[in-house]
């Protein structure tokens, strides 16, 4: 274990996260973990890490980093200016850096959260089986808090087995999501849709605006007020809450709960499907959101397609040389593009 990254400037809110901490919600510990699992997994894939390696989740404004030891990096997720010793680099591809190099990131122009993966992973201590930072209770990640100037992050050891030496890799264009400002987020009615029999249709036919109150605990929306049925109480007996639950408090403005919450006390009209939480996490304050109702069965079909798409991507040769020769034509073909878009964004 050695220091690999020195934080010169932390950005707006940068934390160390992995795929989450499971099994402790019955003790009041939320899963935490990366909010956009798709972008984070692809960043890890680019640098040769397993999917569960810890990386940086960067919110809105990126950090500046001095490199302390030779390593491989990749940035995915929100579109953000990325400079390597002053030279522009693109996201969604891996690149090698040397001690003394400077990496500077700008402000997100599209999307809200970017992921910086480091070959070998960020080797902060495991706390209850995960490296994810839970800032709310001050543990996990790097010292249980967002990064600060002067922090030094250790690099894990990458077990390459019999893999060939590192080559520059890139994610084929069709696998790169296009972040918009108008989002369609798929959701399943319930758990308490019976409290909203008169407003469920309104909910699924309305457009909401993302308020400035967004963080890893939740997204507060504004716009059409959603009303409970007459006589139904807004407060319910507090119950376990899962990521994606859409609470309706007294004022009628929906709050989407994310991965740093274990208990909710308001009735939930619907729940965002797990495959769309990553998309939601890329929405910025001021963006518009519409909810599209799907059944549990439809959500499971989407879930299986996402899983098989990721599995297929892992088997592709992502080295830049391979696209240059034969791959490019296929990746850019209409058939391939429409297939991937279909998996990513439609049923």
């Amino acid at each position: 274990m050695s220091g690999a990254l020195e934080i010169l400037q932390p950005g707006a809110f940068t934390t160390v996260q992995d795929q989450g901490r499971y099994g402790y919600q019955q003790y009041g510990v939320p899963p935490c973990g990366v909010l956009d699992g798709y972008a984070a997994q692809l960043a890890n894939l680019l640098v040769g890490n397993p999917a569960e390696a810890a990386l940086l989740e960067i919110t809105f404004a990126g950090p500046s980093i001095r490199i302390l030891s030779p390593c491989v990096l990749a940035l995915t997720g929100a579109e953000m200016e990325l400079l390597h010793n002053g030279q522009h680099l693109g996201g969604w591809r891996s690149f090698a850096v040397q001690p003394g190099d400077l990496i500077t990131m700008g402000i997100a122009s599209r999307g809200c959260r970017a992921y910086l993966a480091l070959g070998g992973g960020i080797d902060v201590p495991l706390v209850m089986g995960s490296r994810s930072c839970y800032t709310g209770a001050g543990f996990g990640g790097h010292e249980g808090r967002p990064l600060r100037q002067g922090d030094v992050l250790p690099q894990g050891i990458l077990d390459r087995g019999n893999d060939p030496p590192w080559v520059e890799r890139a994610i084929p264009d069709p696998y790169i999501p296009e972040y918009q400002t108008n989002w369609t987020i798929r959701a399943i009615a319930g758990p308490q849709e019976d409290y909203f029999s008169q407003s469920l249709v309104t909910f699924f036919n309305s457009e909401f605006t993302v308020s400035p109150q967004v963080n890893r605990m939740g997204y507060r929306l504004e716009g059409t007020k959603i009303r409970l049925d007459p006589g139904m109480p807004a407060s319910i007996i507090s119950e376990p809450s899962l990521p994606g639950g859409i609470q309706i408090p007294e004022g009628g403005d929906p709050i989407i709960l994310l991965s740093e919450q274990t208990v909710g006390g308001y009735a939930k009209i619907a729940t965002v499907i797990s495959s769309d939480i990553g998309k939601l996490a890329q929405a910025m304050p001021g963006d518009r959101i519409r909810f599209q109702q799907v059944s549990v069965e439809q959500a499971h079909t989407i879930y299986r397609r996402h899983a098989s798409m990721l599995a297929r991507l892992k088997e592709l040769d992502l080295s830049v040389q391979s696209f240059a020769s034969m791959g490019r034509a296929y990746f850019n073909s209409e058939i391939f593009r429409s297939k991937v878009n279909h998996y990513l964004f439609q049923l």
Partner: protein
């Protein structure tokens, strides 16, 4: 889906509510009710012993059990049938006695700044508030809000007290408080509006420990009064 019956208590049949594509809530009844919670506790214990295919995590609540599953390994209908079968067998399943956890609490003074206010609000002496608060065995219905925070039942009506008009920005870890009909203990320092009546010197949550949590849903909790000296002595032992 049928509406919960207004009279409270156990439903004739549990209600299943979808909570997204990876979770469901099995709701056993309505109201905060020891009988419902006994069933939740029983079902949680049985589910820990009987690993159902595809179940990732179970989270007990006051009157419902959240079940998180892997959609690649099971279907909601399969899960529903399996959960109902376990629920129906509960009456014939032997369950261990609930664990009783005793927590030492130094009431009043610098550790319980609001004890006098709670006493005045209820026309009692501070000593009477302490006697009433430390008498019952409180059932731990659910853990949540912050890591290790117990939602307790059974606070005597004689000492119900409204929340503070202005919440404190920082309540120290171990603080024991009252808010309306609830009592509880803060495992980590956090903002809070509860009336603070005492403090416990033992940590309820230690992320670095191999058993990070003192309490679990289904436990019974009793507060036992200790002196300031005893508090400081126990606190010192924790530090070592």
């Amino acid at each position: 889906m049928s509406r919960p019956s207004p009279q409270g208590g156990l439903y004739p049949e549990p209600i299943f509510r979808p909570a997204g594509d990876r979770g469901m809530l099995m709701e056993l009844g309505t109201g905060i009710d020891p009988e419902i919670n006994q069933k939740i506790r029983g079902l949680s214990l049985v589910l820990e012993r009987t690993r159902l295919q595809g179940v990732v995590e179970i989270i007990p609540g006051y009157r419902s059990l959240a079940v998180i599953y892997d959609p690649l390994q099971t279907k909601p209908e399969t899960l529903r049938q399996a959960l109902l079968a376990l629920y129906d067998e509960l009456e014939h399943t032997a369950l261990p006695e609930a664990r009783v956890v005793e927590l030492p609490v130094c009431y009043g003074g610098e550790f319980g700044e609001d004890l006098a206010r709670v006493a005045a609000h209820n026309r009692l002496s501070p000593a009477e508030v302490v006697a009433i608060h430390s008498a019952p065995l409180y059932p731990v219905y659910m853990i949540g809000f912050t890591p290790g925070f117990p939602y307790l039942g059974g606070l005597s009506e004689k000492i119900h007290t409204p929340r503070l008009a202005t919440p404190r920005t920082l309540v120290p870890a171990g603080s024991v408080g009252i808010a309306n009909s609830q009592t509880g203990i803060y495992p980590i320092a956090s903002p809070g509006g509860w009336q603070l009546i005492g403090r416990c010197p033992c940590p309820l949550f230690d992320p670095g420990h191999d058993r990070p949590f003192l309490l679990k849903a289904g436990d019974l909790l009793r507060f036992s009064p200790i002196s300031r000296d005893e508090y400081l002595r126990l606190r010192g032992e924790q530090r070592k």
